[in-house]
Symmetry: C3
Subunit: 418 residues, 3 copies
C-alpha cells in the first residue's frame, strides 16, 4: 500500500452500492406498494405533506451541511450524508414494514412511514457525526445498515416487552445514535489522535456552511418533535410545537452565555454554539409526552444547553484522552447528554403528575428499563459494527488522509484555490 495516496474505493464501494440497490429494488418489487387506503378521519395528504418536507429538509440538508464545517471535508460531509441517508431510509422502510408484511404479505408506504424511516435515518446520521472524517463511505454504508437494524430491533423490543408507545420509542433515537457513535469511535480509535488532526479545523466560510445546516435543523425542529404526535387532539400538537420552539430559543441564548463564560478570553465559539443550541430540541423531544407547560420546556432547554455546552468544552477532550474516544461532531454533548436529560425530565414530570405512589414507582421502573434496554442494544450493535469495520478489507483512509476530501473526490484542477 503506497502511503501517499488514499486507497481507491472503486472495487469496494461501487459493487456494494450496486448490489444493495439492486437488492432493494428486488425487495420493493415483491413486497412494497403505495398505501392507497385513505381513511376519512385520517390526516389528509395535503396537511401532512409540508411537515414531511420539513423533516426531509432536516435529514438531507440540515445534517448534511452541519457536517461541512471541516475545512477540507465539505464535499464528503454533505455528499456521504446524502448517500447514507438514502440507503438507511430505504432499509428502514423495509424493516419497519416487516410486521405489516407478516400479516398482510405487503409493506404499504405512505408519508407517515417515510417520516418514521427518516427518523431511523436521523439516528444513523447522529452516529456518523462521531466518526466523521475517519471512515470511508463503505464503512458508513455498513454502519447505516447495521444501526438501522439495531434501532428497529430496539423499537420492537420496547413495544413488545414494555408496551412503550411508538412515539416515545422513536424519540430515543438521540440516545441510541449517540451511544452507538461513541462506541464505534472508541473501537475505531487510531493511534496518534491525541495530537490534533492537522485538517480538523474550520474557517470563515465553512463555519457559515455549517451554520446554514444548523439553522435549518433549529428552525424545523418543532416539526421533528411534533410530526408524529397524534393530531386528533390539536392542542397536543400545538403544545409540542410551542414547547420545542421555546426550548430551542432558550437553548440558543444559554449556549451563547455558557460558551462565553467557559472560554478563557471570553469569546464565543461558533461550532460549540451550533452544537449546543440544538440541545433544547433534543431534550424536549425525548420528554415530549410529559411536557405540558411552556416553562417546563424552557427549563429543560436551559438545563440542556448548560450541560451540553460544558460537555462540549471539557468532556470532549476528556473522552479523547481518558477513553481514547475521538468524537468529531461532539455527538455526546449534542445528542447524548441532552437526550439523557430529556429522559430524566420525562421521569420527573411523570412522577410529579402521578396521582398515587404506586403508579409513580411502576412508571419509574418501566422508564429505567426502557433506557437500559436502549443503551444495551445500542452499545451491543455498536460493538459488533465496530469490530466488523476494523477489518482492513474496507480500506479505511490513512491517518494523514483523514478529514480530507482528496481521498475520495476528484479535483480536476489541482490549482483550484489560486
Amino acid at each position: 500500500m503506497a502511503p501517499k495516496y488514499a486507497p481507491s474505493l472503486r472495487s469496494r464501494l461501487a459493487p456494494l452500492l450496486l448490489f444493495l440497490q439492486a437488492g432493494f429494488i428486488t425487495i420493493y418489487a415483491f413486497f412494497v406498494e403505495v398505501d392507497s387506503s385513505v381513511k376519512v378521519n385520517e390526516k389528509t395528504f395535503s396537511n401532512f405533506y409540508p411537515e414531511f418536507q420539513d423533516v426531509n429538509v432536516m435529514v438531507i440538508l440540515g445534517f448534511g451541511f452541519l457536517c461541512t464545517f471541516l475545512v477540507r471535508y465539505g464535499f464528503s460531509g454533505s455528499g456521504f450524508n446524502l448517500l447514507v441517508a438514502v440507503m438507511a431510509t430505504q432499509w428502514a422502510i423495509t424493516l419497519n414494514g416487516i410486521e405489516s408484511w407478516y400479516y398482510t404479505g405487503k409493506i404499504r408506504i405512505n408519508l407517515r412511514s417515510l417520516v418514521v424511516a427518516e427518523m431511523c435515518t436521523a439516528s444513523v446520521l447522529i452516529s456518523i457525526g462521531a466518526v466523521l472524517g475517519k471512515t470511508n463511505p463503505v464503512q458508513l454504508i455498513i454502519i447505516a445498515l447495521l444501526e438501522v437494524s439495531g434501532f428497529v430491533l430496539n423499537e420492537w423490543v420496547l413495544q413488545t416487552l414494555l408496551k412503550v408507545r411508538p412515539l416515545n420509542g422513536i424519540m430515543l433515537l438521540h440516545i441510541f445514535g449517540s451511544f452507538f457513535g461513541l462506541v464505534l469511535s472508541w473501537i475505531l480509535y487510531r493511534k496518534g489522535s491525541e495530537l490534533r488532526f492537522e485538517k480538523e479545523k474550520f474557517d470563515r466560510k465553512t463555519g457559515l456552511f455549517s451554520m446554514l445546516g444548523t439553522v435549518f435543523l433549529w428552525m424545523f425542529w418543532p416539526t421533528f418533535n411534533s410530526i408524529l404526535v397524534d393530531d386528533r387532539t390539536p392542542g397536543r400538537k400545538l403544545g409540542a410545537v410551542c414547547s420545542t420552539y421555546l426550548a430551542l430559543a432558550v437553548s440558543a441564548v444559554t449556549a451563547a452565555a455558557v460558551s462565553l463564560l467557559s472560554h478563557p478570553k471570553g469569546k464565543l465559539n461558533l461550532i460549540q454554539m451550533q452544537s449546543c443550541m440544538l440541545a433544547g430540541g433534543v431534550a424536549v423531544g425525548v420528554s415530549m409526552s410529559a411536557v405540558h407547560q411552556p416553562w417546563e420546556a424552557m427549563t429543560i432547554g436551559f438545563t440542556a444547553a448548560i450541560i451540553s455546552t460544558i460537555g462540549f468544552q471539557y468532556l470532549k477532550i476528556h473522552m479523547l484522552l481518558a477513553f481514547q474516544c475521538h468524537d468529531t461532531c461532539a455527538t455526546l454533548s449534542t445528542h447524548g447528554l441532552p437526550g439523557l436529560l430529556g429522559w430524566l425530565s420525562h421521569l420527573l414530570l411523570q412522577i410529579k403528575d402521578s396521582d398515587d405512589h404506586a403508579t409513580a414507582i411502576w412508571f419509574a421502573v418501566f422508564h429505567i428499563c426502557t433506557l437500559l434496554i436502549t443503551i444495551t442494544i445500542s452499545l451491543s450493535v455498536g460493538i459488533v459494527t465496530g469490530l466488523l469495520l476494523k477489518w482492513s478489507f474496507w480500506r479505511p483512509p490513512q491517518n494523514n488522509k483523514c478529514f480530507d476530501d482528496q481521498a475520495f473526490w476528484e479535483f480536476p484542477n489541482l490549482a483550484v484555490r489560486k
Copy 2:
C-alpha cells in the same frame, strides 16, 4: 484599555443573557400557557403551520444570512441575528400578551401569537442592519428589548387612539425599524467613518451567502405579507400572495435595470441589487389592504425599486457625509423609503376608492396621523436607546475592530485561511 484587543464581553454579555433568560422563564412560568381552545371555524393548526415556518425561515435564515455579506463579519452577522431574534421574540410574546393577561390573568400562545411576535422581531432585525458591525452583542440585546417595547407601544397607541386595524399597524414595522435604526446609527456615529472602514466590503463567497439570505426573504415574502390576512375571505389572501409575488418580480427586474443605469461603467452591484429587489415586497406589504389589482402592486413594486436603487446609490453616502449617519445595510433605502412609498400608495388608492370627498379627507387625516405617530415613537425610543448605548460601560468595539469577527469569536487556528 489595550488598543490591540477588542474588550472581552464575558462580564457583560453572559450575565445579561442569563439574567434575561432566567427572567423570561420565570415570567412564562407564572403567566404563559399554550392556547388549547381551538374554535371550529378558526384556521386549523395544519393549515397555518407551513406559513408560520415560512416566516420563521425569513426571520432566522433570511435576515441572518442577509447580514453575512461583510467579508470578515459572517459569524457575527448570522450568529448575533439569531441571538437577537430569540430574545426579541420571547419579549414580544410577553408584551403582546399584556392585554390578555390584564383581562384573564394568562397569556395564551398559539401559532398566530408566535407569528406576530416574529414580526415585531423583524422590525428589530431591520434596525440592527443600520448599526451592523459597529456594535457589540450586548448593545444589540438592549436594542432588541427597547425597540420591541417601543413597537408594541406604537401598536397599542395606534389601535387605541386611531382604531387602526392590527394588520395595518404591524405592517408599519418597516418604517418603524428603519427610522429607529437610522437615529441609532446617527447617535452612535464614530469619528473617522467618513473614510471607508477597512473591513467593510464583500467578496465572491460572502456575496453568495448573502444572496442566499436575500433569496429566502424574496421567496417567502408573499407569506410574510399574507399570513395575517383574514382567510375567511380566501380571495383576499390569494390576492395578497399574487400582489406580493408580482411586485417582487417587478422589483427584481427594475432594481437590476436602475442599478446598471446608475453605475458609471454600466455594471451591476450585487449588494445593491439584493437590497433593492426586496423593495417591492416592503411597499406592497405596507399598502396591502388597499391593493386590489395586480397591476397596482406591480406599479408600486416598479416605483419602489427605482426609489430604493437610487437611494442606495446616492443617498447612503449623502447620509454619511451630510448627516453623519453610517447605515451599514442601507436600511433607509431598503425598508424606509419603500415603506413610505407603500404608505403613500395606501393613501392614494384609498382616496381613489372612496365614494365621497368627506370620507377621503377623513381617511387622509387618520392616515397621516398614523405615520406621524409611528415616526415620532420610533425616533423617540431610538434616541433614548442610542443615548443609553453610548455609555462606554457596554464596551463597544474600537474602530479598528469594527466589522471584524475576531472581536467576538474564537478562531482556534489563526492560520485558518492558508
Copy 3:
C-alpha cells in the same frame, strides 16, 4: 472595442428590462386579475400554498444555486437566474392565459397558474444551463421570452392536435429545454472552446454552494412531479410523491456507484454526482402517469442514473469535439437523456397495461408523435433564437471574459481575495 474590458451592457440591458417590464405592467393592467372565484370542491388555498412555495424554492433557489459551481461566475449564476426566472414567469402567465382571455376577456391568476408558469420557466432555466457563462444577460432575457413562447406553442399544439393531457405535456419540459439548450449552444459555438476555458472549474466552496442548490432540487422534486396531479384521487398524488422520492433515492446511490466505476482512479466527481442524482426525478416526472408501483419508479431511477452518469462522463466531451456543442451544465445528460428514458418508460408501461393490441399501437403512435412534435418545435425555435443571438449587436462577452463575473458585476475592492 478594447479587447481588455467586457463590453458595457448599460445601453442594451437596462432599456430592454425597463421596456419589457413597463410592457408587462401595461398588459397586466388591462387583462390580468386575481381569480376570486373559489369553488368549494377545489383544493383550498392553504392546502396548495406550501406546494407552490416548494416549486418556487426549486425555481429560484434550486436552479439558481445549481449554477454557482463555476469558481468565478457565482454572482452571475444566481443573479441572472433570478432575473430570467421573473421575466419568464411574467411572460408565461400572459401566454398561458391567452385562451382564457380569448373567451372571457380576462386572464385570471391563481396559485395553479403561477405554478404552471414557473414550470415553463423551469424549461428556460434548463436551456440556460447549456449556454451558462458564454452569454450575457441580454441574450438570456431574449432566450427566456422566445423559449417560453415556443414551449407554450408546443403545449397548445399537443393539446389541440393530439389531445395530450396538460400534465403530460408540461412534463415534457425537460426534453424541450434540453434540446433547445443544445441547439442554442451549437449555434453559439465559439472557436477555441475545444481547449478548456480557463475559468471553467469549481473549487471547494463553490462546489458546496451548488450542492446546496442541488439538494433543494432533490428534496422538493416530489412536489414538482406531484403538484399538478389531480388530487380528487388522493392515492394518485401520494403515489407520485412516493415514486419520485424512491426514484431520486435510487438515482443518488446509482450515480455515485457509476461515477466511481467510470473514473480512472476510482474517485467521485461532485459536479457529476450533483447532475446525475437528479436524473431519476426527471425520468419519473416524464413517465409519471404510467408509473403505478414503487419498483417501477425505482427501476426507472436506476436506469436514468446510469445513462446520465455515463452521458456526463463520455458524451459531454464527445458533443464538444464531434458536434462543436459546448454544454456547460451537461443539460443533455441531466435532463435530455433521462427525459427520453422517461418518455420510453411511459410508452412501455402503457403498452404493458393495455388490454388489447390495437389500443397499444394507437397509443404508441400518438406517443411517438408527441415526442417528435416536441423535439421539432424545440429545435426550430432554438435555431431561430440562436441565429438571432449571434447578432453582435447584443455584445456577447469575449472568449477571455467567459465564465467571469467581472464582465458584468462591480467588485468595489479589487483586492477582495487577499
